[in-house]
Amino acid sequence: MADRVLRLSDFSVRFATAAGSVPAATEVSLSVAAGECLGVVGESGAGKSQLFLGALGLLAANGRAAGRAQLQGRDLLGLPARELDAVRGRRVGMVFQDPMTSLTPHLRIGTQIAQVRMRHLGEPAAEARRRALELLRRVHVNDPEQRLLQYPHELSGGMRQRAMIAIALAGNPQLLIADEPTTALDVTVQAQILALLQELKRETGLALILISHDLGAVAGLADTVAVMRQGRLIECAPATELFASPRQAYTRALLEEARALAAPVPAQASGEAPVALEARALSVSYPVPAGGWGRRAALAALSEASLTLHAGESLGVVGESGSGKSTLARALLKLVPHTAGRVVWMGRDLDALSRARLRAQRRDLQIIFQDPLGSLDPRMRVAELVGEGLRVHEPSLSAAARRAAAQAMLARVGLEAGLMERYPHELSGGQGQRVGIARAMVLAPKLLVCDEPVSSLDVHSQAQVVELIAALKRETGLALLFVSHNLGIVQRLCERVLVLYLGRMMELAPAGALFAAPRHPYTRELLAAIPLPDPRLQPGRLSAVRAGEAPSPRDPPSGCVYRTRCPFAQAACAAARPAWEAASGQGAVACRRWREI
């Protein structure tokens, strides 16, 4: 077929390593036509990115590609560097995963766009700059004139990714390859970027390749879906067909995993257990530089959060980055000092405790962090890491008993005893997070705070770690505070959910009610942004995504902080902070219009 923009035939990628030649992709044949979107899915390490980097000669120095990669009929492999450069950026635009590290930090956004136009289209500088502005408008960047002159670090994650797309489009390419374009972004921003790609595909007739581990993201865009596993293409079919009746067991397993994350789980009714943890009007602000000569202003990271957590209960805390959810988690454990309010644990005011008493209390209050390996001391072995808490809190325990306890706990979290003598850098991300959980659980705490515990793991380990945390909660009856930007995971794990936005509480409700009938407009926006792994529904959901990003927490809007993004906002919303109103069914919401909308 002549209309194929890119066609890979028997395409393989190998890497020369100290251990010999390692295949990354083996004999893959794929193609994409103009106006079509090809979704390529698989776990990390499946070779899906290397395939296209290989086709465009962008592999690391030790990588070699073989086979055929035809772009509009011309084989790219073996093209001299000069001719390949005339293809990259001109015929094929690429968008990479992390827009922070993939944009050149010391060049202004406008310069990076204009460079492409000057190079490939021979435009003079002034003309290229004008076109750069148009391109920024095209990808719906706000304040495009200002953005043109800004550096990547001055932009939000979503604006950066839009700028990346503008650069990729600058040479008027026929093919756009987006490699995990939304993985590093918040769920609402992810939906906006996917909606932009959908719009571009619809309006420009561009061929689009979307590489993602997220079947939900692919479902909204792809016409054809290719599934890769361990470097091989195991299944390729039209999207509706593949999602409806996958032929391979592996594809079925991926789909089940994705659907489990998106499907509501009936919330277990928590009995009237005693209140374990209570926060009263808790506020945290950080000093930030303002003006010269060391002047400081206060940035309110968390503003008047009040909540109760019952013994054995699990509370999810969700929100975008900058919503204050990690600050809340840390302030509850007094790991960051709060500027106002109280934290009460089992009836005792934690602020009133002496340092020694507070330290003794910490045994009951444990936390696991987002970066599993970074939060483990690199100079300690696993056995010491897990046993360290016991050394502090149970000094009478002999070294042998401590070791035995550590070993038993490691076995419980599914790690072999052979890992006891390893250092953190010798562990995988999933293993590291299991060590983090064992380190916390060996003290038999009554509260476990999980601060984005799975967001740096790949999908497969994510599901396993969530399963482990759920099992530990069932067995030990510990209370759980689970912070995550992934609503699917919170839904699966938590009985109640708190929604934060710009440091303020928006809604708190039982999980079932919150996901079935969200009251706050922000909760609705969050839920609408979750990509559903269903190609019949997801494209329509994407088309309905609204633009808008959270304003800076340094300068929050007056009244209701959400009003600048809210489709229901009225003049009154700007006047006063909305009251925290109890709603039916144990919920509460901070919106003056929740009854009418």
Binding site: A61, P105, Q115, V116, H120
Partner: protein
């Protein structure tokens, strides 16, 4: 920006004061005095000498006196070279050291940076191995070996250049000392440049610049090189201060009347004002150059805010 600059420069003064104070105290803590080596000095003469130079007064008084002089640009008299003030000595020696140091620096930059870039671009291949081996030798060989070797070959055997001497800074006399002084610096710069460029060449933004088809030259020049220069810039601040205030070894080997010997000889002789004078010059240069390096840093990396 101007406000930032004034702030930075005012901020240097307290640091300089701390340096002067500490040097003053440490010098006096060292046993012995400036006139201990004089043979057959009668106690009377010695007391007179001490009185003449104010050494009989208490330490705080001497310190206050020294600072007062410093404020007026007076570094005091040299205690050993009796007919000269410290200012005159530095005014004689510093231009020599400065000229030599700048020549060495330019040479080091002109050789080291391109060599480092070349080694990074040909990483793991012959040019890289060759340059890395050469750099290791240049760093390992001390200048009292390299200097005489160069003089032996280029002056005594080939008669291309003079063996030693200064002759009011005639370029012919500058070549061998500048090479001797600049060579290890060039080697170090090349290694720094190589390592940091290899790192930026592996970064995601360089890959994405290549994916835009900008061409190898533009990717290197616009995207990879500026961030790779950051470690070089932060090394250059203190390195320049070091080479321009004079190298004892190179100046001795080539018989140059620079300031290199002042610090060492002054310290051995307990010539307090001379050593302190050199400390002030060296300290000021180091602070100012570090400040300039920070500014340059900001120009290369917009994420560094000068606000």
């Amino acid at each position: 920006m101007l406000r930032y600059l004034t702030g930075r420069i005012l901020g240097l003064l307290p640091t300089l004061l701390v340096i002067v104070t500490l040097s003053f105290l440490i010098l006096r803590l060292a046993p012995g005095g400036p006139f201990d080596q004089e043979q057959g000095l009668s106690p009377q003469v010695r007391a007179n000498l001490d009185r003449a130079y104010g050494l009989d007064q208490s330490l705080p008084v001497q310190y206050a006196h020294y600072l007062r002089g410093l404020l007026h640009g007076d570094f005091g008299p040299s205690l050993r070279q009796r007919d000269f003030t410290v200012r005159e000595l530095i005014a004689q020696g510093l231009p020599v050291s400065l000229t030599l140091g700048l020549a060495a620096l330019l040479l080091a930059l002109a050789v080291g940076i391109p060599a480092g870039i070349a080694a990074a671009l040909w990483q793991g291949r012959a040019p890289d191995h060759l340059l890395s081996g050469f750099a290791a030798c240049a760093l390992a060989l001390p200048s009292f070996v390299v200097g005489p070797l160069l003089a032996l070959v280029f002056a005594l055997h080939l008669h291309w250049l003079p063996v030693a001497g200064w002759q009011h800074g005639m370029p012919r006399y500058l070549v061998l000392p500048a090479i001797t002084l600049g060579l290890p610096m060039a080697a170090y710069l090349a290694r720094l440049m190589r390592a940091s460029l290899i790192e930026t060449l592996r970064s995601a933004y360089v890959r994405s610049a290549r994916a835009r088809g900008l061409g190898a030259a533009s990717v290197l020049w616009h995207h990879a090189l500026p961030p790779a220069l950051l470690p070089v810039v932060s090394y250059l601040g203190p390195a320049i201060a070091f080479v321009v205030t004079g190298s004892l070894v190179v100046e001795s080997v080539f018989g140059l009347p620079g300031t290199g010997r002042y610090l060492v000889q002054g310290a051995i002789d307990r010539d307090y004002p001379l050593v302190l004078g050199m400390v002030v010059v060296y300290g000021t240069l180091t602070l100012v150059l570090n400040c300039l390096a920070d500014l340059l840093y900001g120009a290369l990396d917009p994420a560094v805010h000068h606000a």
